[in-house]
């Protein structure tokens, strides 16, 4: 426990100091995205990595949070601080209701059903033009304000987003270590065994699905209020796949892994500027290679690779 606390404090310090190290304005903007994507991949990881339930529709919940926040604050002139929890509550309620029928499905069927759900949400964003502005998007979303500070610059947004990200992280770390976290892992390993031991797996799966949707919705609201402009293109099927890639690359069932995956996949396209749209080839290749050769993700793969290399240097046979 003490080690976990130290790790978290160290990580928070790093986050706090990062703007001093990278003072460039553009990089700050990229780091804001790393924060948002970290929240989203933690949300998906709680569902996929801990409870073992796949979702290919999480971009939809992210988008719903962004659009609800955007519409409430522009068309209905609500205060952003009031719109965000309202959006999260609506999205959470929706996910809770749809969770009962959808989480009865398993494996491939669950994947297809959540995928369908995500695409339906995406189509609604595009088609309800009066409400969402359709494919051309929704602009003029207000920035968040607190005690006279308006979050309108990259550095201010950095601190805003990363405060939220750290809160999501500590919440999820605690959840993972709690009774609920253990019950989730039991459901993951064997749902039948978990039920025999008195875990109400049906309710538990629905609850974690709703929680995951709520975190995604909050990330969406924060995205809307920092970007001030949103369009359906950010919330399509491809983004759901990108989130899945982040979680798998980082490591299923690891909160810090989600950060690693999100950071890698957000920074990678910046280094591959010349590669343009071809980054999807890299996503596809990475997904396949990771599942085949490093199914535990980077958080487990790098240490075991290191141990393997050190051992083989000493001439001992390495144990995988």
């Amino acid at each position: 426990m003490k080690r976990d606390l130290l790790l978290f404090i160290g990580f928070s310090l790093l986050v706090l100091l990062a703007p001093q190290l990278f003072s460039g304005g553009y990089l700050m903007n990229v780091l804001v995205f790393v924060g948002i994507n970290t929240m989203l991949s933690i949300a998906l990881n709680l569902l996929l990595g801990y409870a073992g339930q796949i979702s290919l529709g999480h971009a939809g919940f992210f988008g719903l949070g962004a659009y609800l926040s955007g519409i409430l604050t522009t068309t209905y002139a609500l205060d952003p601080w009031f719109a965000m929890p309202l959006a999260a509550a609506v999205v959470g309620g929706m996910a809770f209701l749809i969770g009962f029928p959808i989480l009865k499905l398993k494996g491939h069927y669950l994947a297809m059903a959540t995928l369908g759900l995500g695409i339906i949400i995406y189509i609604v964003f595009n088609e309800t033009v009066e409400l969402t502005g359709g494919p051309s998007g929704l602009s003029g979303i207000p920035n968040l304000k607190i005690a006279g500070i308006t979050f309108d610059s990259d550095v201010k947004n950095y601190y805003l987003i990363w405060t939220a990200t750290l809160l999501v992280m500590i919440f999820s770390l605690n959840l993972a270590g709690s009774r609920v976290g253990r019950a989730l892992r039991a459901v993951h390993d064997s749902e039948v065994a978990a039920r025999v031991l008195g875990v109400n797996s049906r309710i538990l799966k629905v609850q974690i699905f709703a929680l995951s949707a709520v975190i995604s919705s909050l990330a969406g609201s924060l995205y809307a209020h920092t970007m001030t402009f949103i369009s359906p293109a950010s919330f399509g099927f491809n983004f759901s796949i990108e989130l899945l890639t982040m979680v798998v690359i980082g490591g299923l069932g690891s909160i810090y892994g989600s950060f690693l995956g999100a950071a890698l996949l957000t920074l990678l396209p910046e280094f591959l500027r010349g590669a343009n749209d071809y980054d999807i080839i890299i996503y596809g290749g990475l997904l396949m290679v990771m599942v085949m050769y490093m199914p535990g993700g980077l958080v487990r793969g790098i240490p075991s690779l290191y141990r393997y290399l050190v051992k083989s240097k000493k001439g001992e046979p390495g144990h995988a």
Partner: protein, 293 residues
């Protein structure tokens, strides 16, 4: 609403439905032999269309030669996919299989974008485009080609599965893989066969639909998902129920687009998909089966 218009929507719906049926059968064949939902199924549809285009334009082949050429090449890619991605997988859990087939699908799509670019390409219709009047509506010769080729493929499929040794062996794998292995069936070879058959069928579907709808590197996503929807309606059968599922989906979609709104056309398939999965996961015609829930 005139009868003519309804007839028109139904006729064009039937031919799109036939395409969904072919893709859906491809899903079912792999699912039945392996328990895998191949998320890359739609990419073979895309490959069929685009490879035909290249055979026509680069190799200057006539259409009758370009089609088998492109089917053969797509099938080779299907074999490579099974050998390089599916077979070496150490932990073939459903989630890992979903992820690896999604990864494969993105990779194939990305490579296609690299080869053919992002433009939409047209393929000439097989026999002209003079509309044929049917009742008060018209259909294109290509629609007839689609229906005829689909029918032929379904008949070949039926003969293969019921009257050949390897077809019967594949059905045995679908019932019970372990038992099939015990009676001496090489299950891994049957898995490879299932990938061969379904990538070839996907490619054919992509070729015959391309003259109607044009083709591009990213057409596989939607076509693949709708084919899956057809297979779900048909209860993942590789026979007639999936064909009916495809036709129902095609007609509903076409009527929905014509009568309600074309923007929501794609949503119709997914709403049907969710409803079927929630209410009758065994398919419209299937008996209750707890396997999938």
């Amino acid at each position: 609403m005139q009868f003519d218009q309804l007839l028109q929507y139904t006729l064009s719906g039937l031919s799109t439905g036939a395409i969904y049926a072919l893709i859906g059968i491809g899903f079912s064949i792999i699912y039945n032999a392996t328990g895998i939902i191949n998320f890359a199924q739609g990419e073979f549809v895309m490959l069929g269309g685009l490879l035909t285009l290249s055979s026509l334009e680069l190799l200057k082949l006539p259409l009758w030669a370009a089609i088998p050429c492109s089917v053969a090449f797509s099938t080779v890619i299907g074999i490579l996919f099974e050998r390089l991605a599916i077979r070496p997988l150490k932990q073939p859990t459903p989630i890992n299989l979903v992820i690896i087939t999604i990864g494969g699908s993105i990779l194939i799509r990305g490579l296609a974008m690299l080869v053919w670019g992002k433009d939409t390409h047209a393929i000439p219709p097989f026999s002209g485009d003079t509309p044929i009047p049917v009742g008060g509506a018209t259909i294109l010769p290509q629609h007839l080609w689609i229906l005829a080729i689909t029918l032929i493929i379904i008949i070949i499929n039926k003969i293969y599965f019921y009257h050949t040794i390897s077809g019967k062996a594949m059905r045995a794998c679908a019932y019970n893989r372990r038992a099939a292995g015990l009676v001496g069936i090489d299950v891994r070879r049957m898995v490879l066969f299932s990938f061969i058959i379904s990538s070839a069928m996907g490619a054919v579907a992509g070729i015959i639909v391309a003259p109607l709808t044009m083709t591009a590197y990213d057409v596989g996503v939607m076509l693949g998902l709708k084919g899956f929807c057809a297979a779900i309606i048909g209860g993942m059968s590789s026979g007639i129920s999936t064909v009916i599922g495809g036709l129902i989906l095609g007609v509903l979609e076409s009527l929905g687009a014509g009568l309600i709104s074309s923007g929501y056309k794609d949503a119709i398939a997914f709403i049907i998909l969710l409803l079927i999965l929630f209410i009758r996961p065994q398919g419209l015609f299937g008996k209750a089966d707890s396997e999938r829930v």
